[in-house]
Symmetry: C2
Subunit: 251 residues, 2 copies
């Protein structure tokens, strides 16, 4: 019986990513966090601060994944349109969440007080709950299987931390890395054969160039520990038999 | 008369990005390069090493953008399926490109010689041209308005360098950054008003947290220099009139 695979998608919202001004860090951060929850990041889209683009991405991706995350566009300024766009995607209205309002009033008490602009950050799609923000004022938002996170990576990290262990997932994906000073093209056939010989395992090959030499890391992934180890051992044995040094990077 | 806007999309291909193992650097790198060519990066998708996922992304995005770029999946190993997937998306066959073969034979002459696996990197969708790779062996591939680049960022950078100035675009997007020690929520209304008062300009607001203080960078973007400067000056004047220091970060 094949194992149920839980998937998530991410919509990164923001002109600053598409303009190259800001280097995205949320894709890798979310992916790593999801692995631990036993959920696979299946696809990502980066879209501009344009409502139709957000709606299209959100509706397509939420229909075919167990979870949908967004990052960015939940601040107080005119270019922060994520809440409105997701409400439009869901066909619901936008409302001020009383608990979010209370959080913001408390947060801004010593910071100049609440204003209309700041109150924008208490707006949520109707039917939403809040995700605790341990880092700054405005909370994240959960609406069913949609998770609306901040764009600033360390704030998003805090929101993910608050969600840890609350999402249903499968077994975490385990990985083991084997490194070798070899051009991947030299052992490409061996890699393919080894992967096919171990069901439920995927081997990724990632070349690197260091000190003028060529090497590659082979990342073995599986949800089952014994299967993972059997494949990694076969990889190491095969490399060694070819006279190559295989460095077991472990888990 | 409104200006023709040239757009490009990017498909980032690779399980290593979706697993969080590798931090993508190609989105920001391509975006920055495209700005200089007068082309806007309009959307990005990150897809796994799965043919149907690549085909869907490539066909959707090439239909609605002037250019389509892909990064990743053009190496010699079993998980490198970009060429086959793009050929499938285009409905053409895959062929060995004679010039790519010659490049690889020369490159591997002193590196153990050409092999079947290495020859995989000479495979292109029928009708393709090559993009020079100044960094390592395997070239990039151009098929009409599709540009197939390496996933390793410094190799992709070399391929972009080889393409510099060869693509038709509009006027480059210019930007000017104004920084201030202010919470963006304090001046959100002013930002919106200023943007609306200057047609053809977009203002992005990007908060930061440094030394325990809150600040924000306001990035003004436009293709016309005079319009850009007028908006930036209005922004600086407005901030100053509110008793805030405005740091003109320039272009």
């Amino acid at each position: 019986m094949s194992e149920r695979i839980w998937t998530a998608a991410l919509v990164v919202i923001g002109d600053e990513i598409l303009s190259g001004r800001t280097q995205d860090r949320n894709i890798a951060q979310l992916a790593t966090w999801l692995n631990v929850q036993g959920i696979r990041l299946a696809e990502v889209r980066v879209v501009p601060d344009v409502q139709e683009a957000i709606v299209e991405a959100v509706n397509t991706l939420r229909a075919r994944n167990d979870y949908l995350f967004t990052t960015g566009g939940i601040g107080p300024t005119h270019d922060d349109i994520t809440v409105d766009a997701i409400a439009a995607a869901l066909g619901v209205g936008v409302t001020i969440h009383p608990a979010a309002r209370a959080v913001l009033e408390r947060y801004y008490e010593t910071r100049g007080g609440i204003t209309d602009a700041r109150l924008r950050m208490a707006r949520v799609p109707e039917g939403a709950e809040l995700i605790v923000n341990r880092v700054s004022g405005a909370p994240g938002i959960r609406h069913g299987n949609i998770f609306i996170l901040a764009g600033v990576p360390h704030i998003a990290a805090g929101m993910l931390d608050a969600l840890t262990g609350t999402l249903e997932g499968g077994r975490p994906v385990l990985s083991r890395t084997v490194g070798s000073w070899v051009a991947e093209s030299e052992i490409a056939d061996f890699l393919g054969t080894t992967e096919r010989a171990h069901e439920g395992v995927a081997i990724g090959s990632y070349p690197f160039f260091r000190d003028g030499r060529t090497g590659a890391n082979f990342v073995v992934r599986a949800t089952d520990r014994a299967t993972l180890d059997a494949c990694a051992e076969a990889l190491i044995a095969g490399l060694t038999s070819k006279g190559l040094e295989a460095v077991d990077g472990g888990i």
